[in-house]
Amino acid sequence: MKAALDARTLFVAIVVAGLLLLPVYTGARGDQFVLTLFTRIVILAIAATSLNLILGYGGMVSFGHAAYLGIGAYAVGILAEEGIGSGFVQLPFALALSALFALIVGALSLRTRGVYFIMITLAFAQMVYYVAAGLDRYGGDDGLTIYARSGFAGLINLSNPTQFYYLCLALLLASIAFMWRLINSRFGMVICGSRSNDRRMQAIGFPTFRYRLAAFVIAGVWCGLAGALLANHTDFVSPAMMYWTRSGDLIVMVVFGGMGSLFGPLFGAISLLVLEEGLSRVTEYWQIILGPLLLLIVLFARGGIDGLIGRLRRG
């Protein structure tokens, strides 16, 4: 066991160190683009981490998780458009809206299983997508530009790319730490247990529905936070953020990185987005490789990147 920890821990340490030092590198090179790219990666890693809670650990295949990105983002966007620029108002609003939506969707969907659960979560996400597309006042399908980022009364300046990056990174690391505490608590144990055998958990005496609903809401709020950050990052919100294929992208990140592992979502986000940017400069047809690669991973490397690294100890 110790050998496995070393390989994985080393890898994680390198990645985290790299992320921490990134602004130093991009500052020296004057390349804002890479900093922007990695800010996006970090934000999506937060979203993927939140999905990992219910998908990776909880076994709940939610195909509508991108809805929370959109809800968080639109909360910020709508308030900004209405002249309310303070982050102290926007952020709680984003989180509250996400929580409410997650509560409703969870309460209605968690009674179903398998493909029905997938379809219902997808349906709700599409509904939010269409609501956003129907918001004529806020741009509808054309989207809405955000002219000023969330203000935090001088505590932190989100328009400064470096400060914003470190804020997102801090939130990501906090998310992972929070996830670690959650999974290793009784709550996490029930969630994981519920995934393997729900009936047994109920037989033991746990009201699994309540636990799973709580996990669902936590994941939703968490992703809403990522959405609020995303709105600030792109200065733009549009319904496209919530289209069902975006939920698919999030699932891909979680699976790619390694479901049910702490840093898996981060690895997944990094690989997917770096692949996208990097490969697309070499060949336009990179997705032709990514597609079958996904299939192969599903068939042969279910542990994702995290799983592959874990196997390194065997040499």
Partner: protein
């Protein structure tokens, strides 16, 4: 009169949806396979048709070739990529076939370029016909006709033939059917091929009036899933009823909601909201059906 015309439009859209949904529900019901790449087969049908019609110069010859090509593609796809997925988690299906969507989109881009294709109608079909006093495009009537014929064919196939009996057996209880000596592998391949051909037919039929472009399957795929969930997974009859219903709701909503909303909103705002509402209505419908009858309107007995 306007209502009748809009109903015909809704029927036509619904029937196209049915073609797509029928294949999806068969594959899901019998092989328990969630196939997101079904939309890609729809896309391939359209691309094949545009290509073959241009090659042969004949609309019908091109269409038939495209149908055959899509069926072949479906069979090959099933044998190579999908067989390993049988028996696995639905999530594995979703991910694997999601990967296939990406693959097909890029393949199309590689082979046919990024701009998409066009498929012109033969002049004979490019006219309007008088139907019960309304002037309706001939081609759309053809779509309705062909779809109804296919629906009838499927009904006869499933209900009256030996193959259909095997299909129904496989849908009710796969293991038992296998234990009784049915060649499940062959059955699966056949069913998948049939589904692929149906998807290809839908794709090629809508090509002249709508579009032939990359990613065209993604939008309609979701609607097809909604249809089969409402109709009941594995039930073709359910798919037909649900598809027509969804088609009517969508079209009538699009047609009449804006006018209703214009009483309170500006024209463009009414249009935006109406469009969103009629799309949402479909998902709302699905949620309601799932709440009341979780197995769909026509659940396959024995699942």
């Amino acid at each position: 009169m306007l209502l009748l015309e809009q109903c015909l439009n809704g029927l036509q859209f619904g029937l196209l949806l049915f073609l797509l949904a029928a294949g999806l529900t068969l594959v899901f019901g019998i092989m328990d396979l969630v196939n997101l790449a079904h939309g890609s087969l729809y896309m391939m049908g359209a691309y094949f048709a545009a290509t073959f019609v241009a090659w042969t110069g004949s609309f019908f010859a091109g269409a038939l070739l495209a149908l055959a090509a899509t069926l072949l593609l479906g069979v090959v796809l099933e044998m190579i990529a999908l067989r390993p997925l049988y028996g696995r988690d639905h999530l594995d299906h979703v991910l694997g076939t999601f990967g296939l969507i990406l693959f097909f989109n890029e393949l199309v881009r590689l082979v046919w370029g990024p701009a998409g294709l066009s498929l012109p109608l033969p002049p004979a079909l490019n006219a309007a016909i008088d139907v019960f006093g309304i002037y309706y495009p001939a081609y759309r009537l053809l779509i309705i006709l062909v779809s109804l014929v296919v629906a009838l064919f499927l009904y006869l196939l499933v209900m009256k033939t030996r193959l259909g009996m095997l299909i129904r057996a496989g849908a009710s209880n796969r293991d038992m059917a296998g234990a009784l000596g049915v060649d499940i592998k062959l059955l699966f391949t056949l069913v998948f091929g049939l589904g692929a051909a149906l998807a290809g037919l839908a794709g090629l039929m809508q090509a002249p009036i709508l579009t032939v472009q990359i990613g065209m399957g993604e939008n309609i795929l979701i609607l097809a899933f909604v249809v089969i969930v409402i109709g009941g997974i594995g039930s073709i009859r359910g798919a037909l009823v649900a598809a027509i219903f969804v088609g009517l709701v969508d079209t009538l909503g699009r047609a009449f909601l804006p006018d209703l909303l214009r009483l309170v909103l500006s024209v463009s705002a009414a249009s935006t909201v109406a469009r969103a509402m009629s799309s949402m209505l479909i998902y709302l419908l699905m949620a309601i059906v799932l709440a009341i009858r979780p197995q769909g309107l026509f659940p396959v007995v024995g699942r």
